[in-house]
């Protein structure tokens, strides 16, 4: 146990995800040894992010204003919505530069065993967005794991009566990998989603 405030800092840092007691201690001593201006800047950013950042009223992505940068951008295609689980997924898809539509962040995936059902996600908000008839395609980009697949199945069933084009991200072999090392589920999906080579 350290003296008052140092121990408090270690305890607070230890509450962060993935930071154990040893890491918390290391970070705390790094901060103690750091330049006061650097520490002040870090403290300021922490307070600022909590005060300013909110969730986009339209898509649920993290935003600095009422609407996020993507929802405010008039050049983005309003006819296509890509549904993702978390804001982190928006960043991952944006890095590909392949998608020019808009997003909808659900805030998680359906997981009955963890007590998370459709009502705990931003499904109602998605249905409201689809109701005006502007959107023609819904891309379901939830994680390719069991919860993500179940969420995609649920959403596809829900929007089916609306007559939208509903697509799911392809699953299959990672680029740069060897076929022999792929597991049978992934390889099976790759076979299911094979495409015609237009040479």
């Amino acid at each position: 146990m350290y003296e008052g405030v140092v121990q408090n800092l270690i305890d607070e840092l230890g509450m962060l995800p993935g930071v154990g007691p040893k890491s918390a201690q290391r970070i705390a001593f790094h901060l103690l040894a750091a330049d006061p201006a650097d520490v002040k800047r870090l403290a300021h950013v922490l307070l600022e992010v909590k005060a300013k950042v909110r969730f986009c009223q339209v898509c649920g992505n993290v935003a600095a204003e009422e609407q996020c940068r993507i929802c405010r951008d008039a050049r983005r295609d309003p006819h296509v919505i890509c549904v993702v689980e978390e804001s982190k997924d928006v960043v991952a898809i944006e890095k590909t530069r392949e998608f020019r539509g808009r997003y909808h962040v659900l805030g998680g995936a359906i997981s009955p065993i963890d007590g998370i059902g459709p009502d705990d996600l931003r499904v109602r908000e998605l249905m409201t967005r689809l109701a005006d008839g502007v959107v023609t395609e819904l891309i379901l980009a939830t994680d390719p794991n069991l919860e993500g697949e179940a969420t995609a199945t649920y959403l596809a069933r829900l929007v089916k009566p609306m007559g939208l084009k509903v697509t799911r991200l392809a699953s299959g072999l990672p680029v740069g990998g060897d076929l022999e090392y792929a597991d049978e589920v992934t390889l099976g999906r790759a076979f299911e989603g094979r495409r015609l080579l237009d040479v």
């Binding site: 009955p112 059902g117 697949e149 179940a150 597991d183």
Partner: protein, 265 residues
Amino acid sequence: MSLYRDEGIVLRTHKLGEADRIITILTKRTGKVRGVAKGVRRTTSKFGARLEPFTHVDVQFHTGRTLDVITQAETIRPYGESLVADYPRYTAGSAMLETADRLTVAEKEPALRQFLLLVGGLRTLVERGHEARLVLDAYFLRSLAVAGYAPALEACAKCRAPAVRAFAIVEGGVVCGACRPPGAAVPAGETIALMTALMRGDWPTADASESRHRSECSGLVAAYLQWHLEHGIRSLKHVEREQVQGERPSPVTASVGSDTAPHPA
């Protein structure tokens, strides 16, 4: 025992650190095991897809200090693949996994009958021969029986008198008029017959039952299960009944009679 191999059903997964997961598996010989699977959240993981819930896997563990480490996994049957394509069956399957997890409290204590029951339940669920709720209720009743909580369905749970009148969860099943505690549910005779059929695996009788008796049976079984487990089953409120023509999907709740409050812990 530094390395050991077993087969099992993946019950649930928890994220651990950057890219690892803690996998809870109900194994055939060892019982419930919690193991660390390293790097499985990375898209390049060689066995991430094999360690998803519902998967029947052949798995190799390395004994660790607190948690064992999963070093290899091979799929025996991926039940999850067909379950996620059918939402009501996925929710029913989730309730099965959660119940199996709750009923096998101690880790590494062999629970062969619970394992075989879960494999059988999942297989029946993916074969789509019976309504998902019926399969789930049959699983609940039989897993409770294996755990020593079989409900009395043919004679009064208290005095063994043959004339039964009500279903009292606190007493452990059907009760006669004299033994009936206040607030006990009074289900239809057909509902008790359905519960008996599910318990025995008499599928022709169960499949021929009416929708209202199935709903009543589900409510009673869910309440009975949660009372004995001393906790609510979180998946239960998300379990959806398969849609009968013209019927809206509805979650199943434990709300039959006033005798359905969870066990006072």
